[in-house]
Amino acid sequence: MKALYHVGRYFLLMKHTFQRPENQSVYFRQILVEFENLGIASIGIVALISVFMGAVLVIQMAFNLDNPMVPPWAIGYAAKQSIVLEFSPTIISLILAGKVGSRIASEIGTMRVTEQIDALEIMGISPATYLILPKIIAAMVVNPLLIIMSMILAMGGGWLGGSLTNLVPTSEFVLGIQSFYKTYDIVYALIKTVVFAFLITSISSYNGFYTKGGALEVGAASTKGVVFSSVAIILSNLVLTQLLLV
């Protein structure tokens, strides 16, 4: 029952969010601010995780598939597929749900409890549109870029991991990366990323927007924002995989 209430209120909030902005240029500037807050600020963590996870992925595969039946290039190929299809779009989106989601929920939650949202409303500005729409748009544009960066860096990390440990020679790894290239894999990954970006920003905004109380509740809202957007990512990942790949 409670879940139904939240789902209903979430959709209502989205209805208020997707409205015509009061002033296009102010909103446009706000989107640029969010590019910085949500995108640029996440480059470091995404890069770090991608490089190391890519390296570990290749080393693990090389160890576990140490079998004459498996040619070395297959390791490169398998690594590429896991990075492109799941690691970068899904795992990195989960990381972003933690980083960006908590930021959004606590930012909007603080604005709620300190009456800044009321102040916007009194000025005749739709708070949902002004606060949430730029975040959703910015994340839907910037997350795919982060994910592409993550793919490249993870494969680079995989190459480093494989060649530094002498488990996968460079030439074989490159051959593996290049084999069976399908554009659709990338498209599939980017579709997922865009959907996840929407889920992260809208769900964590929802949790912040209806915060009641004080600093303690802002913390709780931020945690909820991360948990619910992560769960939404996991569930929709299953659905999207069914829809797009089968």
């Binding site: 002033n23 102010v26 300190t114 800044q116 102040a119 409303e121 005749g124 500005i125 739709s126």
Partner: protein, 253 residues
């Protein structure tokens, strides 16, 4: 002029506003006074539509505001300046950006004009060198004053102030009071000030409404309030040590 007609508001089984009818005159400073927790802020929020009323209506210059949709309300809200009890400054923006914000949203002023307007508003609240500071770098009283500057930046027709002088020293408090009164007369605004500061009441109270138990218990002005025979109002007005000492001295003569 803003009128409330028979408005009721409950939170759960707490009946906070009981059939309140009150009208606030244009060009006058209208005061709402009363003890803490009596529903002053709730009344203010009902008047501006932040809190939905259970029954009754609110009229802005004769226009029924409380039956409007959110979209229709926007039109009237652009003519409202509001000072929140806690300031409610946007904490990611500097003082100047806070004041410029509503101007960027709704006017076509150039950057230079907006800055001039911000400087003008800041000078009216005696804060001429604070433009580049962030709200976190201001004292409580400075935040209040910036919030007033932001409220008047848009040249509002209606000005709402929720405790403009709580947390201010007596001198600054008086400056703010006089500023509110001056602006009200200058721009012929309908101004509503919530306060429990007796100094402001005696300084600027042209129409005073005393709210008690969710009802308008008494109405009058800064002169009639001193001669009131209303028991609850007397308790409210004459509780401070200063006034008691003053009264005792008068009685001694």
């Amino acid at each position: 002029m803003i009128e409330a007609i028979n408005i009721n508001k409950s939170f759960g089984d707490r009946h906070v506003l009981k059939d309140v009818s009150v009208s606030f005159e244009k060009g006058k400073t209208n005061l709402i006074i009363g003890q803490s927790g009596m529903g002053k802020t709730v009344l203010l929020k009902c008047l501006i539509g932040l809190t939905r009323i259970d029954s009754g209506k609110v009229l802005y210059d004769g226009v029924n505001f409380s039956s409007m949709s959110f979209k229709e309300m926007k039109g009237i809200r652009r003519q409202i300046g509001m000072l929140f009890q806690g300031g409610a400054l946007f904490d990611s923006l500097t003082v100047e950006e806070n004041i410029i914000f509503p101007l960027s949203m709704f006017t076509k002023l150039t950057v230079k004009e907006k800055k001039e307007r911000a400087n003008f508003c800041l000078s009216r609240v005696n804060l001429s060198n604070a433009n580049k500071l962030l709200p976190a770098e201001l004292s409580g009283g400075m935040k209040k004053r910036v919030a007033i500057a932001r409220a008047i930046a848009v040249n509002p027709n209606y000005l709402f102030c929720d405790e403009p002088n709580s947390g201010l020293d007596p001198q600054t408090s008086q400056v703010i009071d006089e500023l509110i009164k001056e602006l009200t007369e200058e721009y012929n605004m309908t101004t509503i000030v919530v306060t429990h500061d007796m100094n402001s009441v005696l300084n600027i109270g042209e129409n005073i409404y005393f709210i008690y138990n969710g009802q308008i218990w008494w109405k009058g002005d800064k002169d009639s309030i001193l001669t009131t025979t209303n028991k609850e109002l007397q308790d409210f007005v004459f509780t401070s040590a200063l006034t008691r000492r003053f009264i005792n001295q008068q009685n001694a003569f």
